[in-house]
């Protein structure tokens, strides 16, 4: 049945392309096909130790499959890690396709085709058990993202995605070549790697390659452009779903293929392997710098893009620390980020759909006009800022606990201050877009945009109340890497340093709200338009020249302090690399003199070196 699922995903690509002339029909067809991966997730849930009612099992799937393609063999199998990430991608994907139904107008068939191809690539990637099929599916996914970035018609986004996408592919390919040279096998399971410098080099190249997709600094330079110049349903899937594939790769190769014991044998620092320590420090820097850059943006999409970079940094911290606590936190953060960032990008899309504006300084007052969009976005923002009334808190809390447990004295304050920075840009979104002076007389977003947003909010509520479920879901992954799942009951997590009981928080909050509500009584309230109050009842036409929305240059003192340090920092760094490459290139070009005599000398030199090497060896 797995073959049929893969084939129907591929067939769907051509079907929606053929239906290009009927965008509505193509949308419906694409939505139906996009449910297939989620059905696969449900079908495989049993093998992961999760019981799913039989009416949710649409078909049964084999857990492993091999295709013999003559020159190479493709090995597919479902693993706990693959299943977890497939669950994340497959639950976001149909909803973004549903959102696209009303959002994407131009060449809709092409959009759905590229989206389905992206999902096809990711689906295969998460199942693949050998480096050959891993690389093939990785490239299918990567190039179909490029097709979607192309639709944005922004030169900078296209060029930077192309450059970094190819860089990532090259790094991964080199890493794979080294692994193959070392082990002489394609299969992950047969690679019994030892702690040699070559393994370290291969792993470093792989992590650097995957860091491009996960937008870790300094490999993030493509992300702000590509995230902010493409269509929102796709960006929601890119930021929410596809960016996790980078972390899937890092976890798979760091802990699955290479293994904790090999990483530890390269040396440890204060109880944490050097390799993981470096990754954690990079992650913390990414979290902080991404947050600071997000606060400085005026474009809503760019703000969300930088915030994505910052939030993904936390996942890298968790993977780097590598204790059961940290891994659970990293996976939890991956889950939360998947859902809240998808909601936020979709909400931004809904706002654009109604107003046609992206700039925060040009928006305002949409909270009363689009209340359901506002509430979904508010909840997602609470999750992003890790307010304890959403599941966002539990993930950050696990990461903080893990960092304290390993005595990360300097990383933890950076993580915490990045968390405070998140409040700043969270409020910038809330105030700039949804609160303040109402500037647009618009309707609520259509139902086909509201339903995906609210369905995506659901997991954030479920895992707020029952974090224990999440620990149970991730337990097979941890056991696979020889780690013990953390202590938990259904409603509370115990880390050995402290306990977090969600019931106490929820009931305390509900009780507090009840008391506040009684104090407040809700009677005898007169609702006054704030313009009346602010202008003391004078007609607003007289005061049109006065701006009543302070969202332009909202965090100006912040920009003044951090602007000189952070603006264009990373891009300037890459420009130096570029100019160095250019100088080297022009130098190297000088050997092509055009004189035949010179070329014959080169050939001679080459043979002398070759023979000399052969003789000396």
């Amino acid at each position: 049945m797995l073959t049929e699922v893969l084939v129907s995903l591929l067939a769907g690509v051509f079907l929606v392309l053929a239906l290009n002339k009927y965008p509505r029909v193509a949308g419906v067809v694409a939505f139906i096909i996009s449910l297939l991966p989620f059905m696969a997730v449900l079908a495989w849930a049993g093998t992961m130790g999760i019981t799913v009612p039989s009416y949710l099992k649409f078909f049964t799937l084999e857990t492993s499959l091999t295709y013999n393609l003559g020159p190479g063999v493709i090995h597919l199998a479902i693993t706990p890690l693959g299943w977890f990430f497939l669950m994340l991608l497959a639950s976001v994907f149909p909803l973004t396709v549903m959102f696209a139904n009303s959002f994407v107008k131009r060449n809709a068939g092409g959009f759905y085709a590229a989206m389905l191809l992206t999902m096809f690539g990711s689906f295969g990637l998460l199942l693949s058990q050998d480096i050959l099929s891993f690389f093939i599916f990785w490239e299918i996914m990567s190039w179909s993202i490029f097709a979607l970035v192309l639709r944005g018609h922004d030169r900078r986004a296209i060029v930077s995605y192309l450059a970094f996408g190819s860089l990532s592919a090259m790094l991964i390919l080199f890493g794979f070549m080294m692994l193959y040279y070392k082990t002489n096998t394609f299969l992950f399971a047969d690679m019994h790697l030892t702690a040699t410098p070559l393994t370290l080099a291969a792993l470093s190249l792989l992590v650097a390659g995957f860091a491009v997709k996960g937008a870790l600094m300094p490999m993030h330079a493509w992300a702000p452009h590509a995230y902010s110049r493409s269509e929102e349903p796709f960006v929601a899937f890119l930021s929410g779903g596809l960016s996790k594939l980078g972390f899937f790769g890092i976890i798979l190769f760091m802990y699955g293929v290479v293994g904790m014991s090999v990483i530890s044998s390269w040396g440890t620092f204060r109880g944490v392997p050097w390799f993981g320590y470096a990754l954690a420090v990079i992650g913390a820097f990414t979290a902080f710098a991404g947050t600071v850059l997000a606060v400085m943006q005026d474009d809503l999409r760019k703000l969300l893009a930088y915030s994505s970079i910052g939030q993904l940094g936390y996942i890298a911290i968790g993977i780097g620390i590598g204790t059961p606590l940290a891994m659970t936190g990293a996976l939890f953060q991956a889950l939360n980020h998947t859902f809240f960032k998808a909601v936020l990008f979709l909400a931004a899309g809904a706002v654009f759909y109604r107003t046609g504006k992206w700039k925060i300084s040009e928006l305002g007052g949409l909270g009363y006009k689009m209340p359901f969009t506002f509430l979904a976005a508010l909840f997602a923002i609470f999750a992003l800022a890790a307010i304890p009334i959403t599941s966002g808190f539990a993930a950050k809390w696990l990461l903080y606990e893990a960092a304290i447990q390993k005595k990360f004295l300097f990383v933890t304050p950076i993580m915490l201050i990045a968390g405070v920075g998140a409040f700043l840009y969270a409020f910038k979104i809330l105030y700039g877009v949804f609160l303040g002076e109402p500037r647009y007389d618009v309707k609520e977003a259509p139902l086909s945009q509201l339903i995906p947003m609210w369905l995506l909010v659901l997991p954030l509520v479920i895992f707020l109340v029952i974090p224990g479920w999440f620990v149970d879901i991730t337990a097979p992954i941890l056991r696979g890497y020889g780690m013990q799942p953390i202590q938990h009951t259904l409603f509370s997590i115990n880390t050995g340093l402290a306990t977090y009981n969600t019931l106490a928080v929820i009931f305390g909050m509900l009780g507090g709200l009840l008391v506040a509500f009684i104090l407040y009584k809700w009677k005898k309230q007169e609702v006054v338009p704030h313009i009346d109050n602010y202008l003391a009842g004078e007609p607003p036409e007289l005061y049109e020249h006065i701006g009543m929305h302070a969202s332009s240059k909202y965090f100006e003192p912040f920009d003044e302090v951090f602007g000189p340090i952070f603006k264009k920092g990373a891009e300037r760094g890459w420009e130096i690399v570029l100019s160095a490459a250019e100088i080297l290139g022009t130098g190297a070009r000088k050997i092509y003199t055009g004189i035949v005599g010179d070329y014959s000398i080169y050939v001679l030199l080459f043979f002398i070196i070759l023979v000399g090497w052969w003789l000396l060896w």
Binding site: R270, G365, G367, F374, A385, I387, P388, I389, F393, K396, Y400, E401, I404, K407, L409, F410, T412, P413, L416, I417, G419, V420, G421, F423, L424, A426, F427, L430, Y431, L435, G436, L497, A498, T499, Y500, A504, V505, G508, M509, G511, G512, V515, A516, L519, Y520, Q525, E526, V527, V528, H530, N533, Y534, G547, M548, H549, A550, S551, F555, P557, V561
Partner: protein, 321 residues
């Protein structure tokens, strides 16, 4: 089963009583601060119970001006959020819910009322309110850095993140305040506390002379009453956090040894200690002018954080892995 329900009801009653006590102390502190400021400025000042008068008057108003349901969220979130943060603190060694949470939870719970308040201020549509919220968030970013550095140093030193355990580790007068490195830490945290309490020189978010009390500008009636309750309870929560961290939560007698007498003495000591911490802040408030927001950021991130980094290095070198 019946016994369990009775237990739960008893627990809820105690918690409700404690929250009421917290609000009462907050209102009292407001009056004390005004009286002390008045005496420093050689005025007579309002009576000590002025806080109670203000809040009851505001809640007793007949009609309220609202600017819609988002505006109303401010009052609900700020009162309930600050009460929740109070519940997760050990008060005089008595842990209400503090075994179910830890320092990180308290830090994030303190953000609930602040963000709720900011939501209402934003919904009021007054640019002064928005500027005030911007300043509040900026100063939050400023003072949190040295504060979390000291907190992380303490968590690693005591090898726990639970505030209840930190208080328990300081029993028998083994207060962190008497450990030289954390004495410095207490000074750093006290400076951060000045920003948390929004007293001068860090009363930038409110700044009555510049932005007309900032976030509060459009609030009146019950809305203002709720916000005053939030601010008053905030002083109790923040000073209690400081006392729990550095002064052993005010625990002088062990409950196991002395029974109910210990509770009585501990509560009295706790009250005196938070009053002293609060009065220090009020007195600094009365003699200093106001910083600009960039100056506040520079102060906290340059000088305060530098001392905090020294503490971190000290702990880093001394802690056994």
């Amino acid at each position: 089963m019946v016994m369990e329900i009775v237990d739960i009801l008893e627990k809820i009653l105690i918690l409700a009583g404690m929250v009421t006590l917290g609000f009462a102390i907050g209102m009292l502190f407001n009056g004390i601060a005004r009286k002390v400021s008045a005496r420093i400025q050689n005025r007579v000042g309002p009576p000590v119970y002025q806080g109670f008068i203000d809040v009851f008057k505001l809640f007793g108003k007949k009609t309220n001006i609202s600017h819609g349901w988002i505006f109303d969220l401010a009052a609900l979130f700020s009162v309930s959020g600050i009460a929740l943060a109070f519940l997760f603190l050990p008060v005089a060694g008595y842990s209400m819910l503090s075994t179910d949470g830890d320092l990180f939870l308290i830090l994030y719970l303190l953000a609930i009322p602040a963000l709720g308040f900011a939501l209402g201020a934003g919904a009021s549509g007054n640019p002064n309110a928005a500027v005030g919220v911007m300043r509040a968030l900026m100063s939050m970013l400023a003072y949190e850095l040295p504060l979390v550095m000291v907190m992380v140093a303490m968590m690693v030193y005591y090898n726990t993140t639970s505030l209840a355990n930190i208080v328990a580790a300081q029993a028998n007068m083994q207060w962190a305040f008497f450990i030289p490195i954390f004495f410095i830490g207490a000074l750093v945290a006290d400076m951060a506390l000045q920003g948390m309490l929004m007293e001068k020189p860090f009363d930038i978010p409110i700044a009555p002379h510049e932005i007309a009390t900032g976030p509060m500008v459009e609030f009146g009636g019950k809305h203002l009453g709720a916000l005053m309750l939030y601010k008053m309870m905030g002083t109790v929560v923040e000073t209690t956090l400081f006392v729990d961290l550095f002064l052993g939560g005010g625990v002088v007698l062990s409950v196991a040894q002395y029974g109910w007498l210990a509770y009585l003495v501990n509560f009295a000591v706790w009250f005196v200690l938070i009053l002293i911490v609060f009065l220090i802040a009020v007195m600094i408030d009365n003699v200093l002018p106001r910083f600009r927001i960039e100056q506040a950021l520079k102060f906290y991130w340059k000088y305060d954080a530098l001392i905090a980094i020294f503490i971190l290095i000290w702990i880093f070198a001394g802690v056994k892995i």
